[in-house]
Point group: C2
Chain length 341, copies 2
Amino acid sequence: MRITQQDIARIAQVSQATVSRVLAGDEKVEPTIRDRVAAVMVQHNYQPDVRARSLRNRRTGLIGLVVNRPVGGLTNDPFFSSLTAEIIDYLSGKPYHLCLDMATSESSQSAVYDEMLRSRRVDGLILVESQARDERLHRLQQDKFPFVLIGNPLNSDEIHSVDNDNVRAAEIATQHLLDAGYRRVGFLGGPAGITVSDDRIVGYQRAIRGKQSDHLIWHSQFGSDAAREKALEILASPNRPDALVVLDDFMAMGVVLAARAMGLRIPQQLGLVAFNDTNLCDLLECGLSSVSLNISSLVRTSCDRLMKIIENRPIGESRRTIVPCELKVRGSSIRDLELAG
Amino acid sequence: MRITQQDIARIAQVSQATVSRVLAGDEKVEPTIRDRVAAVMVQHNYQPDVRARSLRNRRTGLIGLVVNRPVGGLTNDPFFSSLTAEIIDYLSGKPYHLCLDMATSESSQSAVYDEMLRSRRVDGLILVESQARDERLHRLQQDKFPFVLIGNPLNSDEIHSVDNDNVRAAEIATQHLLDAGYRRVGFLGGPAGITVSDDRIVGYQRAIRGKQSDHLIWHSQFGSDAAREKALEILASPNRPDALVVLDDFMAMGVVLAARAMGLRIPQQLGLVAFNDTNLCDLLECGLSSVSLNISSLVRTSCDRLMKIIENRPIGESRRTIVPCELKVRGSSIRDLELAG
DNA sequence: TGCCTTTGAGAATTCGTATTCACAGCGTTT
DNA sequence: AAACGCTGTGAATACGAATTCTCAAAGGCA
């Protein structure tokens, strides 16, 4: 059977309330008694029961992370894995733990949400929405449930959100390629409708405006395989681009394979810039230029914010925070690499 | 304020006990009443409070995953990310959630363990120990706390554990290279003392025995960068290997870069087999042969086992389960690829 | 000395649910 | 018709900790 405050109280010859007070570090406890109780607690290896505590305190000490992906959609998702890794890293040492959950299908989402929110399993939520789900977000908002969105809440500025400036990120990437001397800079994105992808296309277009006569935009499924197929097609077309901004590092590696298969040299004949700055970037001899999304600062900001909301502390900043991203230039976007080297 | 069973009871003109019974699907409730209560629950969007429930039931519905890594050691760890991804995948739909925690330092481990176990935050634990921590494991064992170890419990067969047969895996990989006609097959592992690495070295040696005069074993830090450095050194040595078994895909990619830099062709002049079968394997033109650790079946087995232990259901199998691994042959280990193609 | 304030600690209550216990109402049996 | 299940429901209690309420003892002041 488990040791409770009741037991400690009995052994130390005090009331259960006093044990609780000692635990809370209450000043109003006679030092003699405090020490006696503390000794008994240590001796019996007492640890308060979180379950009882959270019932009483209305706090579980858990932060939920809900990921919306189809079954199996998590494996090999670099964004997701960085995200969880960073969150755990950030939370370690703090009085919160991470509760991870997945909503696999549209229909299971409600269930997951209900289980997490209405049932008060977690104190707050971090949401990563690949597509805008106003309805859901507003439900949370109405329930006054503490949450922070990583992403773009679209038409709502009531919602606490932290985001990369995807538009700007793509603009920078594109501009960089233009500056490097590439003439026909294209964009290879993910499936249309995905917010990240759409946002970045806007940034691409913004940079291109005026500098180049046409917009070269393609879509592909995620992953290096799909991207390679698409790239084979793109690079075979008569007026192929001489540089590509690619939605993520994995897709970029697919493009690299396609280029290699077709005998195109990177960066001389094809410039590349991708996003995420994962460790994949070093797997290319010349290095893959990539825009770092600064996930750790994204995480730090969101978690800080969430903890403030949960603990009712004042929130200094505005509701929406943009985390700047940073272009990490490597070899794949330096057109005259050999001359320079 | 939150809606409780009490409220539902009042509205439906029954006692709170009855509401609880309806919720539990108790047969002994008059259909008329059952429907009336159910209707009120739906109407008011009632959801039972997990906190109260877990206090009463002594079950939280949480499974803990404790990862032992230094700060920042999670980012870009493919094993970890596959593992969590698979666990979440597996748990979604089941009445358990995942609670993720990290023990960054030796000293913080006790704290994490205490917080998780003694405080009964989770119903059971999945442990991934990179090194054997008998002391810790035995404490858990003595507390009769439900847990399953992914890995090797070394000198204890009392402990529930699920593991790859790392020895066999490495043996197969090595054998495969020997069969392919390579003459000097070496092994590039991680830092000495890491169980995975040590186990695989044993397997390597077992396969080599008799087939080759000497054992060619090197150690390097994890990650493609460190591996590349080491590989440059290895491949420059006078009696360099003509094939390498490499501890994981990432390190293997480092080896690939080194080989490429030195003008060695893969697989003709250097054969490669790695472990994990991540999506990195497709990033090599010829494909990287890799031993799949079958993480999803690893996860399925451990979670099943853990759930059985938690729920006191009979456990059919023995305490230790070995999940077979499978060599995925790709181009990097087919010595005469061009002849074959 | 007597009254009031302060201090410290125990008793009682609360959080929301599950479950045991007790019992009212009804039907069956002899 | 009386004694005896049986069934469905409400009342009461437990889970373990935090907090409020209560009160006794000690101390201060007039």
